[in-house]
């Protein structure tokens, strides 16, 4: 019936643009296809295609003598992935990702809580930009800044010498795993830079989660006799948890895949990202590099599945 009315009252448009417009109006699915085709070709075909091609390569192997890729389906590369040195790399990266995530959450929570609950007006803007500017400022410049700070002749050493705590730094650096020649070539340095660079990714989701907690819920808890610690433990923390999990998706995933931070600030022991980079570059072993990239994908897949069950995606 609508079609009839349309034909009586409104004549078809003239000109190619008008006719095209009418055609799209009558065939909305064609319009949808025309709109979706370019982005889907780009992302769905070029991008997803490359990803699958990469994953496929992990089932090939490399010929030890010629160094050429042997295009036969095999699990040999995965067996190689599970060798002791490679497992070491995986374990090192995953533990680093875990403590970086934990530390980021600890530092992020007060900032996010203050920004969500107490900051108002001008302060709200200040907090917003204060989180956004470090988030968006250059990744390499941030790493560079820490190279300046952690260098032997840098500000940390200078400050500790001023307050006569130099011995504390020396004692820390003489510890077996976390120490090293200077902070900029130790795991401690790598850890600090990871926390620094990913911190804003943790603050934003926690803040988003906390902003949804009504203020009178906190009041109700203290009216009912809850101490601040109890209120935090039983009211605030459970409500913020989805935000923390959402933030940890970023900190965990970004740490798993990064190869630049441990290369510039850290000891010579490899992380997953560096192993991938070395395997595809100097070693020319694309199958093993591809197998290495499967590790973060699998870990993040499992992580995302758990996060989804906890409702973390609503806080994104």
């Amino acid at each position: 019936m609508t079609a009839v009315v349309e034909h009586i009252t409104i004549p078809d448009r003239r000109g190619p643009a008008g006719r095209l417009s009418d055609f799209f109006w009558k065939h909305p699915h064609v319009l949808l296809t025309v709109m979706l085709a370019p982005p889907l070709l780009w992302l769905g075909v070029v991008y997803i295609g490359s990803l699958f091609a990469l994953l496929l390569q992990s089932f090939f192997s490399i010929d030890d003598f010629s160094g050429l890729i042997n295009y036969e389906f095999t699990f040999a590369t995965y067996r190689q992935l599970l060798s002791e040195t490679n497992l070491d790399i995986i374990l090192r990266t995953v533990s680093m990702a875990a403590i970086v995530t934990l530390a980021s959450a600890l530092i992020a929570f007060p900032i996010a809580y203050y920004a969500a609950r107490y900051a108002q007006g001008k302060w709200k803007v200040l907090f917003y930009l204060g989180i956004m500017l470090p988030l968006w400022s250059s990744y390499l410049v941030k790493i560079y800044a820490w190279k300046l700070i952690l260098a032997k002749e840098g500000i940390v050493t200078w400050f500790l010498a001023k307050v006569h705590l130099q011995w504390l730094l020396d004692a820390w650096l003489s510890l077996p795993v976390v120490g090293g020649n200077s902070l900029s070539v130790s795991y401690t340095g790598t850890f600090i830079v990871f926390v620094y660079v990913w911190l804003p990714f943790m603050i934003l989701p926690i803040q988003a989660a906390l902003e949804r907690v009504p203020g009178n819920l906190i009041e109700a808890s203290s009216d009912l006799g809850g101490t601040p610690a109890q209120t935090f433990r039983h009211v605030l923390f459970p409500l913020a948890l989805p935000g923390i999990v959402a933030g940890s998706i970023f900190t965990f995933s970004l740490t798993l895949g990064d190869y630049i931070i441990p290369q510039i600030i850290g000891s010579s022991r490899l992380f997953i990202g560096q192993a991938v980079y070395a395997q595809q570059g100097t070693a020319g072993n694309i199958p093993l590099a591809a197998a290495f990239t499967v590790v973060p994908i699998v870990i993040m897949g499992a992580y995302l599945y758990m996060a989804k069950r906890m409702g973390a995606f609503d806080a994104l």
Binding site: R13, P39, L43, V46, Y114, S137, S138, Y259
Partner: protein, 271 residues
């Protein structure tokens, strides 16, 4: 209404929040200080003296200019591509309902959700399998892939706020689809697209991980920085370039903030 007592924050929280913010900003401020140091060979603190001579030195470096020009070109084209593709995707997802809508959102977010190294190596091996030589365009292709998401996020948030009756009214008054787009939709999403475009530009301008895999011999500004970080040769010039990069990326962020501050969606929240 909150009571007065609860409206005041506990001192401990205040200190922790202030310390956290200081932790986030002091390193960036130090970059500004180091750009003026007279020390050439080390990262000595405090700087033995202050000078502006390194700005002139950096200004006269052809390699810095070449890297900067390449970065700006790549970022401009990648942003333009991302604007078109991101807007199309956002329009399709928010104006219509169809099977697989959720999958499309996931697809758009994927290049930024997966670690950059995976995107980089996947594109690199695809290029070499298809025997595409590395060039300016391979860099652009990589950048546009992960820039789509920022444009998409900004555009989707704005599309949600345009009421459907506005578009229907335009159609009822006799405008065709293109006129409706030109006079109704575009003015409404304009600032969101501008904000998304600025963020995409900043993202591309700063990208290094994917670029190391998709660039051949060319070096963008971040690649130039990375080489200086691994093998420091020109510390004073690097200091100056670092400061300029900070300033250049701050402008689009502030701009994007002022363009979208009235909205419900935080621009840049989805980096």
């Amino acid at each position: 209404m909150r009571s007065d007592r609860l409206n005041r924050s506990p001192l401990g929280l205040k200190i922790a929040a202030a310390a956290g913010l200081a932790f986030m900003h002091v390193p960036i401020l130090l970059i500004f200080l180091y750009a003026f140091t007279t020390e050439e060979k080390s990262y000595q603190f405090p700087p033995p003296g202050l000078t502006t001579q390194w700005f002139a030195v950096a200004w006269n470096r052809p390699d810095v200019w070449a890297a900067l020009t390449l970065s700006v070109k790549v970022a401009s084209i990648a942003t333009a591509v991302a604007l078109v593709l991101g807007t199309l995707c956002a329009a399709a997802v928010s104006q219509t309902r169809f099977f697989g809508r959720e999958t499309i959102s996931l697809l758009v977010i994927l290049p930024i959700a997966l670690p950059g190294i995976i995107t980089g190596i996947a594109l690199r091996s695809a290029f070499s399998m298809a025997e595409i030589p590395f060039s300016f365009w391979t860099i652009v292709l990589g950048h546009a892939t992960f820039c789509i998401v920022v444009v998409y996020n900004n555009a989707v948030a704005r599309f949600r706020r345009i009421s459907g009756s506005l578009i229907e009214a335009s159609m009822d008054l006799g405008a065709d689809g293109f006129q409706t787009f030109r006079y109704i939709i575009l003015p409404n999403i304009g600032t969101a697209l501008l904000a998304g475009g600025m963020l995409a530009f900043a993202l591309s301008f700063d990208e290094v991980i994917v670029t190391t895999f998709t660039a051949g011999q060319q070096s963008t500004l971040p690649i130039w920085m990375l080489e200086e970080l691994i093998r420091p040769r020109q510390r004073p010039v690097t200091n100056v370039v670092a400061m300029i990069v900070v300033l250049v990326t701050f402008l689009p962020i502030l701009g994007a903030y002022y363009l979208t501050r009235d909205g419900d969606q935080i621009a840049g929240g989805g980096k």
